[in-house]
């Protein structure tokens, strides 16, 4: 009896200029399926460079480049029918568990008449996966039906990106799907920053409500600059308007896995801890010695952040 080997289609995420690192993590996850053949599809309006970048990702067997004017901005309503049109012959369709993938993949799953496996953190078999539920307070093992394609999002923080030493072939293919026009891109407002990207930085410094104001966040930025770190924030700090939403770390913000995470003035609500569980080393700076953040911090320092943080930044600059 011949064994059917997994064939995986990974949906690349990009911003029109570069492939998002979450794509390399999806490829790494797909590599956990025994003897998987991995293809990456790049949807874009003109994707030559993006497809070439995807072709460099290790373990990728082939890149599908689908250019269409409707893909200048990656809208789920326009992409889902295109993914479905390509899905024939694939046993697994993976996307990143970023806002891009979370928006798109369930729409794909419904069109393929399957449930989605959300936030895959571990592959236990060709159709068996581990995923976090209840804000990470429980890990659930699920099994998808063997006779249907598996549609899944991949929890980026659980995987290391594959390398960039490949030279996979690129197939330019036309799109054969009716693309709806009921959804239209208007604008993207993004806080451009020279600092490292929050989702991929090896060091992250986050501030919480204890900062007390937007202007006080300056000491967090200065500490981050001394470390070459990205800057994050707790939900409370974002809700209070100190910093924009894209900086939120936690269950409903970004789930990150830096080598070093420094939480400043963050008490450590369970929803925040969910976002940093996979960090290598967690440092907590807080004036409340009873704050829950100290229960999980590898290194704790109790004291006034307005004294400690500038002193730490100064010492690190030396």
């Amino acid at each position: 009896m011949s064994k059917v080997l997994p064939k995986v289609l990974v949906i690349a995420e990009h911003d029109g200029t570069s492939i998002n690192p979450s794509t390399a993590k999806c490829v790494a996850c797909a590599g956990g399926l025994d003897e998987a053949e991995i293809h990456v599809v790049v949807f874009s309006d003109s994707g030559d460079e993006l497809a070439a970048a995807a072709a460099r990702l290790d373990s990728v067997g082939k890149v599908l480049q689908v250019d269409h004017a409707a893909s200048e901005h990656l809208l789920a309503a326009a992409l889902a029918p295109q993914v479905v049109a390509l899905s024939e012959g694939y046993s697994h369709i993976f996307g990143p568990s970023t806002t891009f993938g979370k928006d798109l993949m369930p729409r794909v799953a419904a069109l393929l008449n399957v449930n989605q496996v959300s936030d895959v953190m571990s592959i236990e078999g060709s159709h068996r996966f581990k995923r976090p539920v209840y804000a990470g307070n429980a890990i659930l093992t699920v099994e998808a039906p063997g006779d249907r394609p598996v549609v899944a999002t991949v929890r980026s923080a659980s995987y290391q990106a594959v390398g960039n030493d490949n030279d996979a072939p690129v197939d330019k293919i036309p799109v054969e799907a009716a693309i709806p026009e009921h959804t239209r891109f208007v604008a993207l407002k993004t806080g451009k920053s020279d600092r490292p990207d929050l989702q991929t930085a090896s060091t992250v410094v986050s501030g919480g409500r204890a900062l007390g104001g937007a202007e006080n966040f300056d000491i967090i930025f200065k500490l981050a600059d001394a470390l070459g770190a990205a800057v994050g924030a707790s939900r409370a700090a974002v809700d209070a308007g100190y910093v924009p939403n894209e900086m939120q770390v936690g269950q409903t913000g970004k789930i990150i896995a830096p080598d070093l995470y420094i939480a400043v003035g963050i008490s450590g609500a369970i929803q925040h801890l969910t976002g940093i569980k996979d960090a290598g080393t967690i440092v907590a700076i807080n004036k409340d010695a009873e704050a829950p953040i100290f229960e999980i911090a590898d290194i704790g320092l109790v004291g006034d952040l307005f004294t400690i943080v500038p002193e730490l930044a100064e010492a690190l600059r030396k």
Binding site: D103, P132, I139, P145, A297
Partner: protein, 249 residues
């Protein structure tokens, strides 16, 4: 806009520290406080504000699950929903089936807008809104932090990883809510009394013509690996020494 359909899921309250059962069959729910999923509460609040601005006339709250979900629907009625529908399903349903139930309700109720929470805080699936939009072949605006209506279209601002994305969608459509869309109101006692008189219909999956699909099989639950309490240092010099020892600075 005539009608808004809002989904209210009954979930373990967000303040409860969830524990996995020792036999791995699920999490402890005996004697645990249950509430409306917080994102769904935000969805209902938004619907109420839309109606209060005179941009909608009727709000229908929907829950799918055990008969105990009547409690959450009563709370929704007390917040201000006009009427409620409970689709009774005594065993848990998969996401695709739930989306089909919503689709069947959409066929019956013909709403101009379906407002749902972006995810339920129990299974954290984040799928229902997108699936309903796909099956309904209508637009979706997920993770919305702002919605504005203008005739037969709406502009939604979405919280995305890169920042804030604005899209324009034709109605009817599905919108899923993010945390910063609004802050839900508190329910007042007189409203709880009034809510008892509001209609709450119960219907079955069979009456809606929905056959449950198999879904994903739950094999087992386990507790996550715990991080343990580390060391406390006394000052910045101690912190730098500890980071040095780990090769981090």
């Amino acid at each position: 806009m005539e009608k808004i359909l809002v989904g209210l899921k009954r979930v373990v309250d967000f303040n409860v520290r969830v524990r996995v059962k020792s036999d791995g069959s699920g999490v402890e729910t005996d004697g645990v406080k249950m509430s409306i999923n917080p994102f769904d509460e935000i969805a209902l609040e938004e619907a109420l504000r839309i109606r209060e601005r005179g941009e909608a006339t009727e709000i229908v709250a929907v829950s799918i699950g055990s008969s105990e979900a009547q409690q959450q629907l009563r709370t929704g009625l007390a917040m201000g929903a006009d009427r409620a529908i409970l689709v009774v399903a005594e065993s848990p349903l998969d996401q695709l089936t739930i989306s089909r139930v919503f689709l069947a309700l959409v066929d019956r109720e013909k709403p101009d807008l379906v407002l749902l929470g972006k995810q339920a805080i129990d299974n954290d699936n984040n799928q229902t809104g997108q699936m309903l939009a796909a099956l309904w072949e209508r637009p979706q605006a997920t993770f919305a932090s702002k919605i504005e209506f203008s005739g037969s279209t709406a502009k939604a601002t979405r919280e995305v990883d890169a920042g804030l994305e604005t899209i324009e969608i034709d109605l009817p459509a599905v919108v899923t809510t993010d945390l910063r869309l609004n802050e839900p109101r508190y329910v007042k006692l007189p409203d709880i009394m009034k809510a008892k008189k509001k209609p709450l219909d119960q219907i079955t999956l069979a009456e809606l013509g929905v056959e449950p699909s198999g879904g994903l099989r739950e094999i087992s639950y386990e507790a996550p690996p715990q991080r343990s309490r580390g060391v406390i240092v006394n000052d910045v010099a101690g912190l730098i020494a500890a980071l040095n020892a780990k090769g981090l600075v």
